[in-house]
Symmetry: C3
Subunit: 277 residues, 3 copies
């Protein structure tokens, strides 16, 4: 494998384990995006096994939101693969990549981190530790990297409104009930379950797997244009003063560090005292 | 607020509480539709808080079906907003209105009452009292105001067939399992849950909320043409003799009064002795 | 009724009970497809009651997969109705047929058998005995008769990926949670539940039922072109050497007989020792 800086890889037969390892928070910044671009290239060049399992070795976090101070930089990295500076289009490319992708989620995943999980082909979450959130609306912007596209189709209008407008955290049990994840499993069991599924699929003929993936994507993956609209709205929205004020407020309270603001985002944002205008 | 005749309103910070209060049954007739038209105008003129919570103060009923004796009249009222005499198009306008709408459902909601709840952005239902039904097929007609559009997308082909063809009542637990409502909650907890969510959303930047709503609607709200087809089919179908025969039968048994027919519609319609032709 | 060879029929008022009875496994071969073509013709000619309930009297099996040795033959039979040799297009025709169709599933249903169940308007499954599987990917091909179309819309991208790529068996509880079936019910209760629903619907005006079905289909049934793509990909894929090698392996182990391979397919396919290429 290439020398990734935020990912650890381990090949086990037909399965590639990719562990996101970018302490302290697994933030999505240029380093992670650069690694993701390289990984997708490897996959599509046939240089990896046919099944990829993503997990994290950073406690409490599967994959965080984007690094709000480096939006231009990570978008620049994304453009290396797609030609366009958009994380949403990159994650859409991940959904189309030539391997079966499984997210094994233990810990928080919010914003674009959650959108990464949504871009994977399947999601399995620990009952004890997985926490999901799309918190963009609490900052005044739309999710920029596919959450509306995926959730609208998977969990329907009402629940997508609650998830995205509410911007609160969801535990694994609720995420399973809503259809946001495939299954919520006890931490003691999830690794064996996911590994068995991954190895099983890895033993099936690859041409057929890719045909299946293409047919399901044809039915379920929104067009690049739809992803582009969200991406552009996010990019424009994040510059608005009411959004910048909230980011500044949260940054003073420890956003992007291992503190209460990241551990309990839904409570932290409520403490913002500005107006809603 | 305007002097509504079927709605009581109360503003609490960024949240407008709208209580449907049109005894004895909260029937959807010209008075309610007129009020709804006026409310949507207020919302879209920015004269209300950004979050609206709908509930009812009529025991056993959240919002009933349409007044079968005043179909022309309420459709006429609906046209004041949309230019077309269609409740379905009016409810579709509600789904697009410039506020976040939440239905807090305790009691029965059937037919177009259920379609009103479906047109809201989110639905929370009491485990003890909420009852849902699309009973149009039992009368020989299609739901006219969006039920097929919303349910097909939210709960899928099989369950929509069961709900609409079966015309039976569903309790909150089943409605939650099917994805018809966001959540079923104990009556003791639902008010605090909904209020907390509403106030939370009300504190977020409004421009972002409306962008999110628009993006989700773009993915999940059927076109006006689809709503129009349903509306026209309902309007034509309700005139057929087999439908009129059933309405006449039920009217003799207390339809649109606080009796057994409205409390247990699914049993009442089974007693119709005519043919199915 | 016509003299079916694989179906037993019994009329009970407004309900036609159709029992699939094609021992030892209720395989989908030319005999079953021929009967299905004739049944759909009867339905669409108005020669049956308006509600059809499908069940099986073969122990352990509702409806098996296709007879892998008679693909050309059953496709030829399907063309009698649709003009095209495709089981997928025939099952899509079943979804549009002029009666309400309900599958009462007790036992295994995999591959095209599951796709038959998916083509029905509703699915009710016994908690004790119903088992669902789309095992095509384990053989290297896409499901050819609508599974991707129906599941993508009903259970979403992530769970459809798991179901189809994983090719494992799902019990009724999981199928209910995923939205694959309407409800999982105890074997002791399911007959009464389904009969009550069927007779209820059978007593409603038929014109309205068919309008409802048409409107729901307009929202939820993929186009004939989409079914045709899957059908053609299955037909081409099944000829590939890696698929033929797996079918040969399984056939040696008792595929299409009442043995361990059919009872526990997911374990049997894991024993294939060939490569995944």
């Amino acid at each position: 494998m290439l020398p990734f800086t935020t990912l650890k890889t381990r090949t086990d037969g037909n399965v590639l384990h990719v562990t996101i390892s970018h302490p302290p928070l697994n933030l999505i910044g240029p380093a992670f995006v650069s690694d993701l671009v390289d990984l997708i290239k490897l996959i599509d060049d046939g240089k990896t096994p046919p099944v990829i399992v993503f997990d994290s070795d950073v406690p409490d976090f599967f994959l965080s939101h984007v690094d709000v101070g480096k939006i231009a930089e990570y978008r620049h990295e994304a453009a290396r693969l797609t030609g366009e500076p958009s994380l949403g289009l990159l994650l859409r490319r991940l959904s189309e990549t030539r391997a079966v992708t499984i997210a094994l989620i233990d810990g928080r995943t919010r914003g674009a981190g959650s959108e990464f999980a949504l871009a994977c082909d399947m999601r399995f979450a620990t009952r004890e530790g997985a926490i999901f959130g799309q918190m963009e609306a609490s900052l005044g912007v739309v999710p920029g990297a596919g959450a509306v596209q995926h959730l609208s189709r998977m969990i329907g209008r009402g629940r997508t409104m609650e998830v995205v407008l509410g911007s609160v955290d969801f535990n694994a049990a609720t995420a399973e009930r809503y259809g946001w994840v495939n299954r919520a499993l006890p931490r003691a069991d999830i690794r064996a379950f996911v590994d068995a599924l991954a190895h099983r699929i890895g033993g099936y003929p690859k041409a057929g797997l890719m045909e299946v993936k293409d047919r399901i994507n044809a039915m379920t993956l929104s067009s690049a244009d739809e992803f582009r609209v969200d991406s552009d709205m996010f990019s424009a929205g994040v510059k608005r003063p009411e959004t910048q004020a909230r980011i500044a407020f949260l940054s003073e309270r420890g956003l992007q560090t291992r503190g209460r603001t990241e551990l309990d985002y839904a409570s932290a944002i409520l403490e913002f005292g500005g107006t809603s205008a």
